[in-house]
Amino acid sequence: MESRVLKPMLAVYVVAFILFLYGPFFVLWILSFQQGPDGGPQFPITEWSTYWYRQIFGLTPPSRIAPLPVGEALVRSLILAFMTMVTSTVLGVMSAQAFRRKFRGSGFVFYLIVLGMMVPGVLTGLGTSLLANNVFEITRHWYTTAFATHVAYTFPFAFLVMLAILNRFDSSVEEAAWSLGVSPWKTFRKVTFPLIFPGVLSAMLFAFTLSFDEFPRSLFAAGGTEDQTLPLAIYGTFSVEIHPNIFAFGVLTTLFSFALLSVYGILMGLSVRRARKLAMQEEIA
């Protein structure tokens, strides 16, 4: 009896949930096919076209609407996200590895690390900017001050992912390797790392995506126009006037994210096989 009432209710709830989750994106997606250059960012669609997509890539004749000034910002954001990903993942793996043994003050250090994702981004950004301007008197750049705030923000995520992975890791395989005469470092490279590699991939994905669309920290810590990251550049265009080219760009970046996720999925699938080769192909002299 219960399920006759409960099940439809749950179904409705799930549908509503998905609608709220993906609704905004669908609206964006539909409006990105608005006719241009005269069509505005609202319904109804006067005529379906791919005008705004072509406009992003400069394939339309010049009009009163300027192309999105995002090219360089996109490159900056990609490089920044990549740098952040590598740094945070390396730090995350190393610190999670350290936390496998209890050490004096480990509780304190844990909260110190996790603080990076708890503190409001605006505060971190503002603080970093004040510190750079007034204390250290250095110029802010996306690859210096902003990079530091991105690492402070994404490192806790990578750390927590790796902590969860290592928590379930059966350390007897490491002990088995040691007892065969394999040094701890080689054991890490050839046994531990290949086995935790799926977790490392997840940590990398987290760090990359979080950095790629990070806004409040970059806003304060990144510096002037020539240091703008992609989210800042997009935000900058809002303050003038909104055209459907933003929507088209949004759809493209979402597709990019999906591509990234697919690559992640494929890598996950291959990781075990890859790891095996990694461990055995390398002959040690």
Binding site: D170, E175, W178, G181, V182, S183, R276, E283
Partner: protein
């Protein structure tokens, strides 16, 4: 002579102050098969892990072939360990698992191949050499773990409940293989188990542990016939404990004043007249005498070690007669013997005597 492995006053105290192992002393000859036996939490695995180098040693000295190795890293020790869950490398196939230790040591490829081939052949793993371990049965994994450890030619092989995860039939057959392998290779084995039958079947000597302490170190048979502590007498075999007070130490054995009269057993501890002690009676030492036995004849063999009893259960299983025998205080002893010996004269309900020869029982101080 030099021992293969020596533990001298080894102790381990955890960071929170709890002692795990207390004053462990053991000398192991080359090629000996030693079992650490005890209930869970008795410190046997901790001791094994100290030998392997996975646990730090708080006090005492650990020597392998005469040199002190307390502070040597695990990978530098001439030991190799077999884990209860086998701890095979899941990302390598069987052959790669076995070859790993040699490769990392930098052994020439041809030589490594030769050694790996030989051990794979010896342990019957040829057909599965290119498979992943997680596809294989428990018995096969066990053999892979053995091959992986043996191929690096350790001086001492440490085994942590290696048969624990196998079903009963497989355990028996692997047990036999293990014993044969150990004899053939002449490597010292130290084997941790909580199963009596394994320890008794495999080892040259058994170290019985309880609550961090060594209770007794003896060959299996002696552990059975001559337990040296109350714990061992309860833990190993089927012993009856008869409490009493020490009366006389003068003769061959010790006489004990008990609820069943004056009983005599072999002396073990330092005992003084008036000490509280128990007579430990192994089930194998018990003879059942009919109620109408000629008392004078029986006394020649058994002295005063005769207690009237009642047969509560008698069951013939093939040529073995199993009996339950109730003592005057209500305790029931399980006794079994060859049917011929008892000639079918005992049925449930019959009166009889429990009797034993004094040297086959032991008196242990409380």
């Amino acid at each position: 002579m030099a021992y293969d492995l020596q533990l001298s006053h080894i102790g381990k105290v955890y960071d929170n102050g709890t002692p795990a192992v207390i004053d462990f002393n053991l000398d192991v000859d080359k090629g000996e098969f030693i079992a650490f036996l005890g209930p869970s939490g008795c410190g046997k695995t901790t001791t094994l892990r100290m030998i392997a180098g996975f646990e730090t040693i708080t006090s005492g000295d650990l020597l392998i072939r005469g040199s002190r190795i307390n502070d040597l890293l695990p990978e530098k020790r001439p030991t190799s360990m077999i884990f209860q869950n086998y701890a095979l490398f899941p990302h390598m196939n069987v052959r790669q698992n076995i070859r790993f230790g040699l490769e990392v040591k930098g052994m020439a490829a041809a030589e490594a191949d030769r050694k790996v081939d030989r051990i794979i052949d010896k342990l019957g793993l040829t057909d599965v050499a290119t498979m992943r371990p997680n596809r294989l049965s428990g018995g096969q994994r066990q053999r892979i773990a053995l091959a992986r450890s043996l191929v690096v030619e350790p001086d001492i092989l440490l085994l942590d409940e290696p048969l624990g995860a196998l079903d009963a039939n497989l355990r028996k057959s692997i047990q036999n293989e293990l014993k044969l392998l150990q004899r053939e290779l002449g490597i010292t084995f130290v084997f941790v188990t909580h199963a009596q039958s394994e320890a008794l079947a495999l080892s040259d000597r058994i170290v019985v542990m309880n609550a961090g302490r060594v209770e007794q170190i003896s060959p299996p048979r002696e552990l059975y016939t001559r337990p040296q502590s109350l714990f061992v007498s309860r833990f190993i075999g089927a012993n009856t404990l008869i409490p009493g007070v020490v009366k006389d130490l003068a003769g061959e054995g010790v006489t004990l004043d008990t609820a069943f009269g004056i009983l005599t057993g072999e002396k073990h501890d330092r005992l003084a007249s008036g000490d509280k002690a128990s007579l430990i009676l192994p089930a194998e030492a018990v003879d059942i005498l009919p109620a109408n036995v000629a008392p004078e004849e029986a006394r020649k063999t058994y002295g005063t070690n005769m207690i009237p009893c009642q047969i509560t259960r008698a069951q013939l299983i093939g040529h073995i007669l199993q009996m339950g025998v109730q003592l005057p205080n209500g305790d029931v002893i399980a006794v079994e013997g060859h049917a011929d010996k008892y000639r079918g004269q005992f049925a449930a309900g019959a009166q009889a005597f429990v009797a034993w020869q004094a040297p086959r029982s032991t008196v242990i101080k409380h």
